[in-house]
Point group: C2
Chain length 422, copies 2
């Protein structure tokens, strides 16, 4: 052994600490885990003043740095927002615990009994942007399912996150659990994020929450299994037999209710046989809502406000008051176009022909496919999960809105009386 | 647009072709998919002579290159092996099709009906070593579940694989399906493997099958979601109340029956209170089976044949006639040791104390945990799945032996009558 001191990074130290602490959490009962969440919520509210003071410093730094109004708003905490965060933790505490469920049980001819049982992942990593509410949320969802969690929030929210995490850790400790079931990476360097993505021996799962850039970077660099969330280039297709009023209403909801969310519509396809009846009404509604339309030639011919769509527009997630629009010859063409350009998040058909609805549901390759309803319903709460960890756009493990179950895995428990393999 | 010709790689061309073909496969019924498998098996047998001739050329090249006997044996095909491969395809054709299963169905208060339905992944990539039987196996498992598959086998088996894939594609075509639901990468460069690992827009899932080096390389480089398979550093722990005869029998089966497989035992832990009674018998049995023991001091004191174990030995997957052995003070210590050094594959306790068995099942963090049975049972056929895609050692999506279900994902089908979100 050499005598040179080995410089340990923050991430590797946190990795050792969380690894030692995690088994204690996995062994808790349903009720014990609820109690930890409630204690966390209580301590967080008790620390409101420190948290708000820390947040003011983050905001001050953010303003000096020139963060835009949207980012500052997402960063800002208020007493009301803190209360909502605590309430969110309490709601998760009341959800049923998926851990321990016996998924299946088989007795084999040789007498072995094989049980497939739901268990926590173990240690979950979460990398996200400067939104301190995600910190409380991640704590609640992960600990509710018996998972220890390593957080790395955006550096613009560092002081807020430190204050929140300290308070939550006090709650954890008050239940007799090691505080290190919740750790926060404070090193703001990109190197620390990269190190976290390579922590395969420690993290069982890594979830990036944030914009497309963050998610791409995690997918590119992680050796830890990742759940990809978020990007939504969602389509609304209006079929030839659509109820025109319904189609306008669904489009308005999908595009205009909230434009910055991943389940908002970004593209409109219209069957040519209904274009003359539907598009003028749709364009009037979109204009009234201040939505810029990138359209094909036919759509442009209907209004001078429509700008030309390029090939790129079909694949764009605007997350803004913009939409692309195109007239199309058939349902089959619509399905082909959608499967080519969408992000497999949520797509809807408005149709009066049940078989067309059925074909759309079957052939469109998205996490959520809708007949005669708005894409905005793609949401854990709207699906009745009582919580939402994000919306998965990959197909491995979890797809679409993820509730608590997505934070669990399973193990096989096999009991015998001396069986050996022949 | 520039006039310069764009040089397309083989992988990107195959990607375009498989993407065009895959939806046709996903739309097939259970029976139609079975028919494709049977046609593939038939055409493969009909092409026996070409396949065996191609295999002879691979073998000849392999011998010249100096491949060792083990590799040559895994590469070699015989009429009997080809028949077994065809029989394997036929057996998969008879398994129940998991696609289409309605996993859950909820009617929401607003009238939306949300169905969670099992669907194929779409396009699966498989990277494996020079074992031509995996080619037939991957075809059967993937197509049975409606997935198109892009194969990249070891370059030493290239001609065999080309001949097998050509015959299987003839079977596919004879059912009126596009042949390109099954494609083989023939470019032997590392660059082509790397490109396949980055084919995120095309492949929905990538499964490496082979040694630890291959799997590590895929985990390091892939942007496509991966299922990690294979590495098994499996433990047998003999508790103080173990039935000695049973413990020797289980250890013999776990270590000696087949040493080159991932579910073979690689390490033995013995409670100190049973060491004097158990270890001499165990060592005699291991010696008789020609197994080299890397032991701690106590184990070494019992036989001159035992060599000293180093720290490294606890974490080693020998895949050979070797085992590490250590006496330990308590069940808790055993669990801690196992969770530190194992690969989370399969671990067993032999005990006469049910509570100790229960604690072992709960606290050992492995895909398969056993009480009083051999780790060798970790196998899709032994579990009654009727097929096996490999044994997952990750926790995302699938854990332990994977049957057909592991090759499926789900989608949410939501039907309404005009609902919009409030």
């Amino acid at each position: 052994m050499s005598n040179e001191p080995i410089r340990k990074t923050e991430v590797s130290c946190l990795g050792e600490r969380i690894r030692a602490a995690a088994p204690k959490l996995a062994a808790l009962t349903d009720q014990e885990k609820s109690r930890v969440l409630l204690a966390g919520a209580r301590e967080m509210l008790a620390a409101s003043e420190e948290i708000l003071a820390a947040n003011r410093e983050d905001l001050e730094r953010g303003r000096k740095k020139g963060l835009n109004a949207g980012l500052l708003d997402r960063l800002a905490l208020t007493p009301a927002r803190l209360k909502a965060m605590a309430e969110g933790i309490r709601q998760v505490a009341e959800l049923p615990d998926p851990v321990g469920e016996i998924i299946s049980r088989t007795a084999r001819p040789n007498g072995l009994v094989i049980e497939k049982v739901r268990v926590p992942f173990g240690i979950v990593g979460m990398i996200y942007e400067a939104r301190p509410n995600v910190t409380a949320d991640a704590f609640a969802l992960c600990l509710r399912t018996g998972n220890a969690v390593m957080l790395r929030g955006g550096s613009d929210a560092l002081q807020s996150n430190q204050a929140i995490v300290e308070s939550l850790r006090r709650g954890v400790a008050s239940c007799g659990l090691p505080e290190d079931v919740l750790v926060l990476v404070t090193d703001p360097s990109h190197e620390s994020t990269r190190e976290m993505m390579r922590l395969s021996g420690v993290l069982d799962l890594l979830i990036p929450r944030g914009g497309a850039g963050l998610i791409r970077s995690v997918l590119e660099n992680s050796t830890v299994p990742v759940i990809e969330t978020g990007t939504g280039n969602c389509f609304v297709y209006v079929d030839d037999t659509a109820d025109i009023e319904m189609a306008v209403r669904i489009l308005e909801n999908a595009k205009c209710q909230r434009t910055s969310v991943c389940n908002a519509a970004e593209s409109l396809l219209v069957h040519r046989d209904v274009a003359a009846a539907f598009l003028p009404k749709a364009l009037a509604m979109l204009e009234k809502n201040g939505i810029l339309v990138h359209g094909d030639e036919y759509t442009m011919s209907l209004s001078p406000a429509v700008v030309p769509a390029t090939e790129e527009d079909w694949g764009r997630e605007y997350l803004d008051r913009e939409i692309s629009a195109r007239v199309i010859g058939s349902l089959g063409e619509a399905i082909e176009h959608i499967n080519r350009y969408h992000t497999r998040h949520s797509d809807a058909i408005v149709t009066g022909t049940p078989e067309n609805g059925e074909r759309f549901l079957r052939e469109v390759d998205a996490a959520c496919v809708y007949v005669n309803a708005s894409t905005r319903f793609t949401d854990g709460f709207e699906f009745g999960f009582g919580a939402e960890l994000g919306i998965s756009t990959q197909k491995l493990h979890a797809r679409g809105p993820m509730g608590l179950e997505a934070l669990t895995t399973y193990k096989y428990r096999i009991t015998g009386d001396g069986q050996v393999r022949g």
